[in-house]
Each structure stands twice: as structure tokens, then as C-alpha cells.
């Protein structure tokens, strides 16, 4: 088995495209893109929150007190465009405050005076400005309301039946876990990507090059030949996984976590545990991909089969996304789902029971060995050797 293993590794390491795609681009692209996107979003949010608020006010003459108050709060009031609705639609302005002509009349009569805030909520960037404008207006409204009550000799507290206090018990780690929610998916897909090329090259590639027939004439049980290929594929998958985890752990250090008020609990220790946890997945992925690829007559055919199963590592993450429930013991028995959930818990900074890791490792390992056994029996089918069925 070892000669097959060594030869497959040597042969594939000589292929520059394989090395670049599988060992560099595959595992490094995700961390890089992730860090860039997060850093960019965080920076933008900070910029928006701290920037001067410019506000277009239509009909400022109807409520000079309100406008003056806004200016005292640091708002830069701008003159209105000819057509406010169009200005919003064409993204010239994010938020526009419109004070109708009836405002003074309602105000004087002590009725709620209507002001309109124009915005387009489907523009995500408008969110921050909208929140700031709304909270300013509410603040003004409350302040004036309290003054009116006091003038009539009523204590303003009477109007406040409830005071809601929300205590956020999330920790910086658990808030960081929100950002790292996609990490399990990236980890699993990295393993599949790492195994993919090798699985195809050692099976359908061998068949396409017509080297499988001479190979099987060697005095070696066929399961051992397949075993060497499986081992080489798993090694490649693990190498990709290791590189990916290291890259991620390292790249996260460059995120402005302090400004985000969160901590990313992915240190070397967590990365190590994640690696061990995903170890059986590498064997499982390799065996499944090899089984698929062995049936294909050519490299291209194998790629099209395997394209169909690449969504499998996404399933657990999607499941968690649409059904965000707490960790339950049965989940630790389900291959792929158990790894996803346990990695999530770890990056949230929760304590992980050793038994959970063990059940995940054992159940996934058992399934992987079963698949490996299936793969090992494949070359007993003449149809798979000569490419005639």
C-alpha cells in the first residue's frame, strides 16, 4: 500500500496546477476574503456612525425651532432639492426630513404634528443615518412633551408607564461567534476541495490515462491499491485543512476586533481541536469522492459527478442557519452536523464536553471506515477497470 501512497503524492506534488489550486488558493482564499470583507464593513460602520450627519430638510420654515434644535445637536442642515422623492430614488440623498405646511397649526393646537422622514430601506447603507435621524426626532418629541406636561403641572414620569431595561449578557466571544458562524462551512468545504483533485486523479484519471489495467496486474490485493490512493487523498485533504486553519487563525489577528466590541475565539488551541475533530471528515470526504470518481471514465465526467456532491458540506451550515437551536446530544452523533455545531460552540467560547468530541469523532470515523471499505472493494468490478461499463 505504501508504494501507491508515495507515488500518488509524488506525482501530484509535481503538478504545479494541483499544488497552486489545492494547497494554496483553496485554503487561503476563504480567510483572505473573509478578513477583507469584515474589515471593510467594520470600517464603514465606524465611519458612518462617527461622521457628521447631513440632513436635507424640506419646509424648514414651518418649524424653525426644530431645525435650530437639530443644528444644536450637530446636524448639518442642507437646503432641499427640487424633487425630494427623486433625490432619494436616485441615491442623491440617504434621508430627507419633510415638514408639512400644516405643522405650525397642529403644533400650536397641541396635536401630534406630522413630520415625514423619506428614505429607501432597501439601501442598506441608509440604515445608520435613518437611525440617527429617528432617534434625534424622538428625543426632541420627548423633550417638548415633557415640557408641556410640566407647564400643566403634571410630572412627566406619569406618561412613562414602563421603563424597559435590556441587559445584554452576550460576551465579546459570543458576539464574535456570530461573525464566525460560517467558519464550519469553510472548514468542511476546504476538506472537500482538498480531496477532490486527488480523488479524481488517482481513479478516473488513472483510467483515462489507461494505466489502471497495468497497475492492477501487480501482485497486490486490490484493496491495498485503493487503500494507497485513499490514504494519499486523505493526506492531501488534511494538508489543505491544516493550511486553511492556520491561515484563518493568523488572518483573524488583523481584524479590528476591539472596535467591533467582540473577541474572536479562534486561537491555536481551538484550531488544533477543530483539526482533530475534522480528521475523520477528511477520510469520509476522500472515500465518498473516490467512490464517485472511480465510476467515471474520464476526468471531466468525474468533475461533473463531484460537482453534484459539493453542496453536501453546506447542508449542516444551512440547517443551523434556518433552525438556530441549541446544541443537543443527538447532534454530536451526526457526521458533518456535529463538526459544524461543535466548531461553532468553540468559537463562541462555550465549554465543550470531551464526550461530544468523542461521539462526533467516533460516529464520523465509523461512517468513513464504512465508505473506505466500499471504495476498497471497487476494483473487484471488471467494469471499473476496462472502462466498458
Amino acid at each position: 500500500m505504501m508504494p501507491v501512497f508515495k507515488k500518488e503524492l509524488l506525482e501530484n506534488l509535481r503538478d504545479r496546477r494541483v499544488v497552486i489550486n489545492t494547497l494554496l488558493l483553496g485554503p487561503l482564499a476563504a480567510p483572505l476574503i473573509f478578513v477583507l470583507i469584515i474589515a471593510f464593513t467594520v470600517q464603514q460602520a465606524i465611519d458612518r456612525a462617527e461622521a457628521e450627519l447631513e440632513l436635507v430638510v424640506v419646509g424648514a420654515e414651518h418649524a424653525p425651532n426644530l431645525v435650530r434644535w437639530l443644528e444644536q445637536q450637530g446636524v448639518v442642515v442642507k437646503d432641499p432639492p427640487a424633487d425630494p422623492e427623486r433625490a432619494i430614488r436616485e441615491e442623491e440623498e440617504e434621508v430627507i426630513l419633510r415638514i408639512p405646511a400644516k405643522f405650525p397649526e397642529a403644533w400650536a393646537a397641541g396635536r401630534p404634528a406630522v413630520v415625514e422622514v423619506l428614505t429607501d430601506r432597501s439601501r442598506r447603507y441608509a440604515g445608520t443615518s435613518l437611525n440617527r435621524v429617528q432617534s434625534l426626532l424622538h428625543g426632541y418629541s420627548r423633550q417638548i412633551g415633557q415640557l408641556r406636561l410640566q407647564l400643566r403641572g403634571v410630572t412627566p414620569e406619569l406618561s412613562q408607564a414602563l421603563r424597559v431595561q435590556t441587559l445584554d449578557l452576550s460576551t465579546p466571544e459570543s458576539r464574535g461567534g456570530l461573525i464566525l458562524a460560517f467558519l464550519p462551512y469553510v472548514v468542511l468545504i476546504t476538506v472537500f476541495i482538498g480531496a477532490m483533485h486527488m480523488a479524481i486523479d488517482t481513479t478516473s484519471g488513472e483510467r483515462e490515462r489507461r494505466s489502471l489495467e497495468p497497475l492492477l496486474i501487480n501482485p497486490l490485493p486490490r484493496w491495498q491499491i485503493m487503500g494507497g490512493k485513499l490514504l494519499a487523498t486523505t493526506t492531501f485533504a488534511l494538508a489543505t485543512l491544516g493550511i486553511g486553519l492556520v491561515a484563518f487563525t493568523w488572518a483573524l489577528k488583523f481584524l479590528p476586533t476591539a472596535q467591533m466590541d467582540m473577541a474572536l475565539n479562534l486561537d491555536w488551541r481551538v484550531a488544533m481541536i477543530a483539526f482533530v475533530l475534522v480528521l475523520p471528515v477528511a477520510l469520509l470526504a476522500s472515500a465518498v469522492l473516490i467512490i464517485l470518481a472511480a465510476f467515471a471514465k474520464s476526468f471531466r465526467e468525474a468533475q461533473s459527478y463531484i460537482g453534484l456532491v459539493m453542496f453536501i458540506p453546506m447542508i449542516p451550515s444551512f440547517w443551523i442557519l434556518i433552525n438556530p437551536s441549541r446544541l443537543e446530544t443527538w447532534m454530536t452523533w451526526v457526521p458533518l452536523l456535529s463538526q459544524s455545531i461543535l466548531i461553532l460552540e468553540m468559537v463562541r467560547g462555550e465549554t465543550i464536553e470531551f464526550a461530544w468530541l468523542a461521539t462526533s469523532f467516533a460516529s464520523t470515523g465509523a461512517l468513513a471506515l464504512l465508505m473506505a471499505a466500499v471504495a476498497g472493494s471497487l476494483y473487484n468490478r471488471p467494469g471499473l477497470i476496462f472502462g466498458d461499463g
Partner: protein, 244 residues
Amino acid sequence: MIEARNLRKCFGEVVAVDDVSFRAEDGQITGLLGPNGAGKTTTLRMLYTLLQPDSGDMTVDGIDPRREPLAVKRRLGVVPDSRGLYDRLTARENVRYYGELHGLDRATIASRLEKLVGVLDMGEFIDRRTQGFSQGQRVKVAIARAMIHDPRTVLLDEPSNGLDVMSTRALRGYLQNLRSEGRCVVLSTHIMQEVAALCDRIVIIARGRIAADGTAEQLIARSGEHTLEDAFVKLIGSDEGLLA
């Protein structure tokens, strides 16, 4: 020595090998001659254990490939129809890989390889990657790969396919060499000149059956023709496949 008796192999409805019996002695070159699709490759594949016959018996040096496939594989050197070299490995690495699969140690592989490089005249390209090799070079590597464990019995499927005149001559010389070493050499071919020039014994296969069996002189005498080609056409009963 190879003995095959009443071998039969079907793929679904198609009868690839119907009833094939022949003997190949040590120290002789035995040629399986027949038109394309006659069942030569299938017969060889059964001998080198990649296919199971539906019925019939066979032995290689007295060993039944079905009972002890690994023991038979250790005795056989096979150059199958598909040469299948690894392009990203050098010729030397290709051969060494097969030596390792046979469980040979490094020193044995190295010394045998040195000899094979000399005999097959591979010095020029032995350390080059096999990508871009000519057919002649590929066949030489495939032969070296099949001979690295020093097998007593050698099976070659269409060895001269795609070779030019010079390579074919070199190949013939090498096979005669193997014969003089007392090995049992079996080759399949559809080329008349090749068997005429090389084989001690000719087994003509047509439509999965043995049409005739003997030396070139015996076959000519039996058919009443003057040349081996005419004898061949007469014995298989048609000239179909000859031009292919």
C-alpha cells in the same frame, strides 16, 4: 509454461472467447494471431487474472490464476495493450514504482533496472519524464516495467502497435533474447509478418475459437497454400479484419 483449456468468456450477449485451448512452452515464443476482435486480448486478460473465465481451465506454471491470483501475477510479466505510463514521473520512476509494488528492495530494483536500460537501450531517456515519449520509448518503458521482477513467463498484447521499423526490429531482438533465456513468451498480434519472423508456434484465433495451431510450416502445409498470409485467410475462413 501456460496451458489453457476450453476457455469461454461472455460479456452480456456477446461471446468474446468461445472455446480457446492452447499451450505455450518455456523457451518458445508463442503467437496468438487473429483479426481484431477475435478474442486475443480477452484471453490474455483471463491469464493475467483481470477477467474471470465463465468456464474452462488454465494454469501458469501449474498454478490456477483463479485460485492464486497473486502467485500467478508474481510469475507473469505483462505488457498490456494499454501502456499507461505516468507522465509526471520519469521512465526510471515508472519502472521503480512497479518494482516496489512487487515488493523488491531498492538495491535489487536499481541493479535490474541498470541491466534493462542496457538491454533495451534506454540510457538516453531513462531519467526524463515520460510526457512526450515516442511510441517506441513508451513500449520500452512498459517492457522494462513488466520485466523488473524477472518473470519467467511474459505476456505481450500487440507489442509492436505503433512502432516504426527500427523499434520493431529492436523489439524482435529483445523477445528472441528472452526466448534464449528459456522464458515462455506469449504475444498477441494481428500482423502476419511478425509471427512469421518471430514465433515458434502460432495459434490462430478467430471469432473466439482456435482456428489452427502449429508452426508456420505446419499451418502452410495444412492449408495447402504457399504463403502464411494465404494460409491465414483460408484457416480463419475470411479476410475480414486483416486490413484493420
